[in-house]
């Protein structure tokens, strides 16, 4: 059972945001979605989370079309971490996390316990009673991560898989927390859970994802194991940047570094101009 997108097409104001895109996310895997700005990553995420209805194609959640799921039932099966939440009210961190329990009914003692566990999971247990509005950007992002974890906290009957969709979860995090967040995603994927992460950093994708999907102009350029997909020609095509692939010094994954670029012409001219003066 999977979260499966089939032949997705989305057009907005004359522009094709997604073109015939098919992709499936299975339980137990971390799938990183990468691509240049405007490649359609966020649009894909919005379609997968039923926020946007595709013009053509459909998304199936565990074998059933997304539109046929009652909203609450699909909410128990997949949670979505937004890039930014407009929340601007002084809830405590714990209260924000507890909102993840809304699809499961009232917040009882059990829910509070789970919310506290989820906060500990993202390393924010000491801030449970702090007001959300007093938290830093990175802390807010981790509170929301705890909220989406608690939304799909318990296993479903018959080991039905759950899915976690994360939209650039590392955007406002420092280096240590970027890795901690992705390690958490990796850990969670081991429990009947499929994790899809929209990422900008190819090295994070290479290190933590089981599969990488590369998007360009709304189309799927390639999908597969990081070592197979992340190679210089493809990256140059997707991002327009010449890169070199090195072996990671410690891990069995590729390390992507940008190549030295020829200095821009204007700079050269300036350097040359300075020579006769000195």
């Amino acid at each position: 059972m999977t979260l499966e997108a089939e032949g997705l097409c989305v057009r907005r104001s004359g522009r094709a945001l997604l073109q015939n895109l098919s992709l499936s996310l299975a339980a137990g895997e971390v799938l990183a979605v990468v691509g240049a700005n405007g490649a359609g990553k966020s649009t894909l995420l919005r379609v997968l989370s039923a926020e946007l209805t595709p013009d053509r194609g459909q998304v199936r959640l565990n074998g059933r079309a997304l539109a046929d799921w009652p909203a609450r039932e699909s909410a128990k099966r997949r949670a979505v971490l937004p890039q930014h939440s407009p929340l601007d009210f002084p809830f405590t961190a714990l209260e924000v996390v507890l909102m993840g329990r809304i699809p499961h009914g009232g917040p009882g003692a059990e829910d509070v316990h789970r919310a506290a566990l989820a906060l500990a999971e993202v390393g924010l247990a000491p801030l449970a009673e702090r007001r959300y509005t007093t938290l830093s950007g990175g802390e807010r992002q981790r509170v929301h991560l705890a909220r989406v974890l608690v939304q799909i906290w318990e296993p479903l009957p018959a080991q039905e898989p759950r899915f976690l969709l994360l939209d650039e979860p590392t955007a406002s995090l420092d280096l240590a927390h970027q890795h901690a967040t992705l390690a958490l995603a990796q850990r969670w994927a081991q429990h009947d859970l499929g994790v899809l992460i929209v990422l900008h950093d190819l090295n994070l994708a290479a290190q933590y994802a089981n599969r990488v999907a590369v998007l360009k102009a709304g189309q799927l350029l390639a999908v597969g194991a990081p070592a197979k997909v992340l190679e210089p020609t493809l990256i140059a095509e997707a991002f327009g940047l010449p890169v070199q692939i090195l072996p990671h010094p410690e891990l069995p994954c590729p390390l992507i570094v940008a190549r030295a670029q020829p200095a821009p012409a204007a700079n050269q001219a300036a350097t040359q101009a300075r020579v006769p003066i000195t």
Binding site: A120, G123, E129
Partner: protein
């Protein structure tokens, strides 16, 4: 990301339990305040009535066997003070709950039915019925009878809320700037419409209209209380049931959708309920500003933004605050009476400015 097991039991148990106790105490205190202010409002006036007589009369009304009260006092209570007090409680509770709900809907604590033009829209519709009720809109007044005024005000409020929401939201995000600017424009337009109708009105209607633009509980009669109670009771009871939906909406529309909330159905429902409360309040008491702004804000300071507490709390504190304002309005310049809207504006205007300044600092 350390799994600190020791920290787990702490946040779940004691600070939370302490806060829940504090929340219950606060709600109880608000209830006590409301009862106290209501008794004061019945006792104080040109004819002072001892609290004991007030209690005795109220007990007699509920059928309890008690000693006789001076008939003059009883008459004042039953025909003047009691309906006025009940109306004040209803209008205050309705405005405060509607304000809290709109702030949740717009995800902004500055939304107030008066500021964003909803009250003015409701008032314009109601004034149209007063002035044109005998002519152009006669079919309406005949069909709806005593409810024509509140229903017209409700429709006016509903249409303005929808219009403001349309203007201020884009891609599920509400722009505060557009919201307040749209409010200014709608207030101006509705004010112009009301002004135009004032020009057409005769002397008798004119007197009704002036009381309207400033707000007053002076029109408190039992039929007015009845119609207001009937219409305001619906949002007062229904909006607290939507508290969790309102909480989720604060996260954002998309985020609420991801939590399994049927956002497309819930938003119009909340708009309708809030407009019903504002419309009914405006129909019986005119435009009373700032109650919907000040009350939820004070409560958020004490109880936090959770709508499950905020909405019942707003009903209790809104009623008390409006009764206090009314008490001042009719005692400060006796035997004359100040329009209550002047008092709430005197209190709410500076309050709003302070909020605006703080918001501006935050944005930097």
């Amino acid at each position: 990301m350390s799994m600190n097991t020791q920290a787990l039991s702490l946040p779940a148990s004691h600070p939370l339990l302490q806060r829940q106790q504090f929340e219950r105490l606060t709600l109880a205190a608000l209830l006590a305040l409301m009862v106290f202010v209501a008794l004061l409002s019945i006792a104080i006036g040109p004819v002072p009535i001892p609290i004991a007589d007030v209690l005795r009369t109220l007990a007699a009304l509920t059928g309890l066997p008690v000693a006789e009260v001076a008939p003059q006092h009883e008459a004042v209570i039953v025909s003047i003070r009691l309906p006025r007090t009940l109306l004040g409680l209803l209008v205050g509770a309705g405005l405060a709950v509607a304000g809290a709900a709109m702030q949740g809907l717009f995800r902004n604590p500055l939304a107030d039915p008066g500021l964003i033009g909803v009250s003015a829209g409701a008032a314009l519709a109601a004034v149209s019925v007063i002035v044109l009720g005998g002519q152009g809109l006669a079919f309406l007044t005949q069909a709806l009878g005593p409810f024509s005024l509140p229903i017209a005000a409700f429709i006016g409020g509903l249409l303005t809320t929808l219009l403001v929401y349309r203007l201020a939201s884009r891609d599920g995000r509400v722009s505060v700037m557009t919201l307040l600017l749209a409010g200014i424009a709608i207030n101006a337009l509705a004010g112009a419409g009301t002004g135009l109708l004032t020009y057409l009105a005769d002397d008798q209607q004119l007197r009704t209209l002036t009381f309207w633009s400033m707000g007053s509980l002076g029109g408190a009669t039992w039929p007015a209380v009845g119609s207001a109670a009937l219409l305001i009771a619906v949002p007062l009871l229904a909006l607290p049931l939507l508290a969790r939906t309102l909480n989720a909406l604060l996260l954002g529309e998309a985020e609420a959708g991801h939590l399994g909330i049927a956002v497309q159905r819930m938003q119009p429902l909340i708009v309708t309920l809030a407009a019903l409360a504002v419309g009914a309040a405006v129909a019986v008491s005119g435009i009373i500003g700032f109650v919907g702004l000040v009350v939820p804000h004070l409560l958020r300071l004490a109880l936090g933004p959770d709508h499950r507490l905020l909405l019942p709390g707003a009903a209790l504190l809104g009623g008390s605050l409006l009764l206090l304002a009314d008490l001042l309005a009719r005692t400060l310049v006796t035997p004359a009476e100040l329009p209550i809207g002047i008092l709430t504006a005197l209190l709410g205007g500076p309050f709003f400015l302070a909020l605006l300044l703080r918001w501006q600092r935050q944005m930097r």
